[in-house]
Symmetry: C2
Subunit: 223 residues, 2 copies
């Protein structure tokens, strides 16, 4: 059981705004994420710019890869991403293709941070699916409230926690996201394998640094 | 029952290559698609460049939107996309958010081609899900072999055709994709509501124009 890291999701609509947001948050986080919105807006240039600026951070590219796995994984890793998200709804062949690309990078290059795939949990899925991800060599998953569900007022509930516990008990490392603020952290204290908490908007603006510190204090309480 | 259109999916890794591919195929197709790979590589610039170059074509932005629906839909439509793909695995709130953005564009602007959402069928889904898409106002869906499943040797089978027929019978207009070539077209002749056949690689290169003509001949035979 390692201590959860803190990740900022950059979801600006322009590279300029994303770079400013990253500059503001860099000291507070171990992981910087090129969010789907930013990646779709600016393409891989967003990944390569952030890689150049932040060589010490873990860099996530959140493509929610749903098809074309080998091509997208190669593209994201070559641009400098350490971890790539893949949709749980993708065909098993897509997940396997992404994992294979990651393993090839790890075998053939001297990497400080190994390339990894994160299954982003969307759609209908079962514990058997999660076992298949592990069998395929994938050890990370992302559990979240959908941004749109969150906007529609859906909170974290007991079922979310139970499902996260069962994924963690299977051996998956979980990153948790969806409007995360410090007051939410205690909800997840029963989950053993938390890789990271992912926050976005709450880490920006003048309150950002205080929020990051508040999240850290909560993490230190429970892990 | 209208005649299926022909759509080219541009999945180049660079804008330069995509623009050359589009130039080569423009006379053969009614619909140009910024594929997921191209969109992730180059961002919305790929959409806006193709919009500027091809004002007469229908332009699809294949983001396979999985979250952040309102923001991504607004971004893609403002860049010039006519249709936007949304993953079937997305939360219902995400689909509704995208549809709402499309309807707002259609209400407030004089558009030659109305903005539309296309549900891209990935992951586990039921006929009830498809009814929910229709209830939400969405009338298009995309049925495909996953690119990675195709690479793994998976062909079209009877179950695919049955599922497409049931979606068509519910009233959804289907676009069909996954390594489409002229010899495949007859497989789909029982499906009433085919909006488009989507091809990519087969429409490129020196054989591209012949392949497009061969697909048209097959379409004319069955619809």
């Amino acid at each position: 059981m390692s201590k959860p890291l803190l990740q900022i999701a950059l979801d600006a609509l322009s590279l300029e705004k994303a770079l400013c947001d990253a500059k503001q948050a860099e000291a507070c986080v171990e992981i910087i994420e090129v969010g789907t919105i930013l990646a779709c807006a600016e393409g891989m240039k967003a990944v390569s710019c952030l890689r150049a600026l932040y060589p010490q951070h873990i860099l996530v590219c959140d493509l929610k890869t749903t098809d074309g796995g080998a091509i997208l994984a190669k593209m994201a890793f070559e641009a400098g991403a350490d971890w790539l998200t893949v949709s749980a709804a993708a065909h098993p062949a897509t997940k396997a293709a992404c994992q294979k690309v990651a393993e090839e990078f790890n075998l053939t290059r001297q990497l400080k941070v190994p390339k990894e795939i994160q299954i982003e949990i969307y759609g209908n899925w079962t514990n058997q699916d999660a076992k298949d991800w592990l069998t395929c060599g994938i050890t990370q998953a992302i559990y979240h409230r959908s941004r749109d569900a969150e906007l529609a007022g859906k909170g974290w509930n007991e079922e979310d926690i139970e499902r996260m516990k069962s994924l963690s008990d299977l051996g998956l490392m979980l990153s948790i996201t969806g409007g995360i603020v410090a007051e939410d952290i205690h909800l997840f204290k029963q989950i053993k394998n938390v890789k990271a908490f992912i926050a976005g908007r709450s880490l920006l603006g003048e309150r950002g640094i205080w929020e990051a510190q508040a999240i850290r204090r909560e993490i230190d309480k429970y892990w």
